[in-house]
């Protein structure tokens, strides 16, 4: 796979953000906040890191990806469409009764989706299973996942974490989308999972920290994850919920609500401006 330059990746990320806004706007429902916060991570994974082939979505040697915070399907679908797994026009059918683009990712319906998710806490367990299968089969594929920080409140996350370290799953790299917010406010007000890094360290993981909106830093973290042997890696990525759309940034209210026409147009204008700036740079 040929490496992509940072600027090209940044442009992809903006296009994905535009898809997110349009998907949620067209569906009049969905989760823009957390989708925008994990967009840069997903873009780097699919365009600069993972070994995948849109022409063979079920290729058995492909790297696997699990969106454990499945409600952020708009971001995953946006990236998969940009990558060529299915037509971009289909994104506008998101969440509609005659569409295959289910509200939460469905591996039986959507090309490129490796695991059905939506019930928080379960995706990371499935990623552990994929990494274990890779080891059992002596395959060199890697497994990636994105966890929500509110999702850390599910006990299953910690059961999965114990298992991943126990089985020395160094073929597993999990991003924590550390945006500080869940549906109803700050994670530290609802049920604090802190200290997060210390917990993962104590559970036997290789713990890295990065800026989840800095393409180069995400790439660097992924390289370090690959270099670490004998342990799974968690990349704690500091992010901003709603990143890229001014009025959505850091607003828990945009967790699961759709913009109206005016808000949609404003978001598009803001994102188009960023895209135009990237063109001239």
């Amino acid at each position: 796979m040929k490496k992509m330059d940072t600027k090209a990746l940044k442009k992809y990320a903006v296009r994905v953000r535009k898809h997110i806004i349009d998907e949620v706007y067209n569906a009049s429902s969905g989760h823009p906040g957390g989708s925008l916060s994990c967009t840069d991570i997903l873009t780097v994974l699919y365009f600069a890191e993972m070994r995948v082939d849109p022409k063979q979505p079920l290729w058995e040697d492909r790297d696997r990806f699990v969106l454990s915070k499945g409600h952020c399907s708009p971001a995953l679908y946006g990236v998969l469409a940009e990558k060529g797994f299915f037509p971009k026009e289909d994104l506008l059918t998101f969440r509609k009764a005659d569409s295959y683009l289910e509200g939460h990712p469905s591996m039986r319906n959507v090309p490129g989706v490796d695991m059905s998710t939506g019930s928080l806490g379960q995706g990371i367990s499935a990623a552990v299973g994929m990494a274990m299968a890779g080891k059992l089969d002596n395959k060199d594929y890697r497994v990636y996942a994105i966890l929500g920080d509110g999702e850390l409140q599910e006990g299953e996350v910690w059961e999965a974490s114990m298992a991943a370290a126990h089985y020395k799953l160094d073929n597993l790299a999990v991003f924590l989308d550390y945006n500080g917010l869940q549906i109803d406010g700050k994670i530290t007000d609802v049920l604090s999972p802190e200290p997060v890094a210390d917990k993962f360290k104590a559970f036997g993981w290789n713990v890295l920290k990065t800026d989840g909106h800095d393409i180069e830093k995400i790439l660097e973290a992924l390289k370090q994850a690959k270099d670490c042997k004998g342990k799974p890696t968690i990349i704690i990525a500091k992010t901003i919920k709603g990143k890229g759309v001014s009025y959505m940034e850091n607003q828990a209210g945009w967790h699961g609500s759709a913009p109206n026409k005016e808000q949609r147009d404003q978001a598009m204008a803001e994102l188009d401006k960023v895209l135009a700036e990237l063109e001239v740079e």
């Binding site: 009049s28 009764a97 289910e102 939460h104 998710t117 019930s119 509110g150 599910e154 006990g155 049920l191």
Partner: protein
């Protein structure tokens, strides 16, 4: 309690063991599904006073899709010893059901939807009796036994059938467990044909509970309206109810089908 349904249920059990009436609420999928075994072993087995308020039940959750649409919760909750299962039809019935749940000593599963539905009952005259169905409309050709948002669809179906000269009785079963055996047997005896309607898999829910009552007490032809053993999907609630055969016209069709069975033509 955070996003930690299993923990929440057993915490509720602990509070109840210290004399509290504990209300634990989450999506029906995560209550009856994720926390099933906590409900079984920490709430129902010790018979603790926990009220599980399960919201977003059924297909009418809409766009969130199959992962969030509980269509099996009545089935898994009603098989638990000590559990009472309530599935109200509208806002008034829900209000009284909550009061009844508080007055009842022991575990209660209260099944609630997300979609706003028409109000059927008049608050000033409404009376909720745990374990007793409500005969909403008279009729002796067939009886439509419904629960939850399908009660309103049953009333609409009754009006449509009336236009064709078919007189259907309508019964609201708000308490699925313990079920009102007397009212169901009476309906079977007096009409000789039963249709059940629920926003749930036809396996294990109201239709099954009614079938159990009929086959042991007074077997008559039965047709079950409900989700035909498949997962839901994303879409607008009304569109989904239509796609999955959960509308008044589906109840009309099923009533005609059960009348054919009753006449020995099927």
């Amino acid at each position: 309690m955070g996003i930690a349904e299993g923990n929440m249920m057993a915490v509720a059990a602990g509070m109840a063991s210290c004399g509290k009436i504990a209300f634990a609420s989450t999506f029906a999928v995560f209550a009856a599904g994720r926390a099933f075994e906590q409900i079984r072993n920490s709430i129902c087995y010790p018979n603790l006073n926990v009220k599980v308020c399960a919201t977003h039940a059924g297909l009418s959750v809409g766009e969130d899709g199959a992962s969030h649409q509980a269509i099996e919760d009545i089935a898994v909750m009603r098989v638990l010893p000590n559990m009472t299962v309530i599935s109200p039809a509208d806002a008034v019935e829900t209000k009284f059901a909550v009061k009844a749940a508080i007055e009842h000593e022991g575990p209660v599963y209260l099944r609630l939807g997300r979609l706003s539905v028409p109000v059927i009952y008049n608050e000033s005259s409404y009376k909720f009796e745990l374990g007793k169905g409500i005969e909403l409309a008279e009729g002796n050709d067939a009886a439509i036994i419904a629960t939850g948002l399908m009660v309103n669809a049953a009333l609409e179906a009754k009006a449509l059938l009336q236009q064709e000269g078919i007189n259907a009785r309508v019964i609201d079963i708000h308490t699925i467990k313990p079920i009102d055996v007397d009212m169901i047997v009476k309906a079977a005896r007096e009409t000789g044909a039963i249709v059940t309607a629920e926003e749930h898999n036809i396996i294990g829910g109201l239709g099954s509970a009614v079938a159990e009552v009929l086959s042991e007490n007074y077997p008559v032809p039965l047709v079950r309206v409900g989700v035909q053993d498949k997962f839901g999907k994303s879409g607008k609630p009304d569109k989904l109810l239509e796609m999955y055969g959960l509308t008044a016209s589906d109840i009309v069709k099923s009533t005609k089908a059960v009348l054919k069975k009753k006449a020995g033509k099927l």
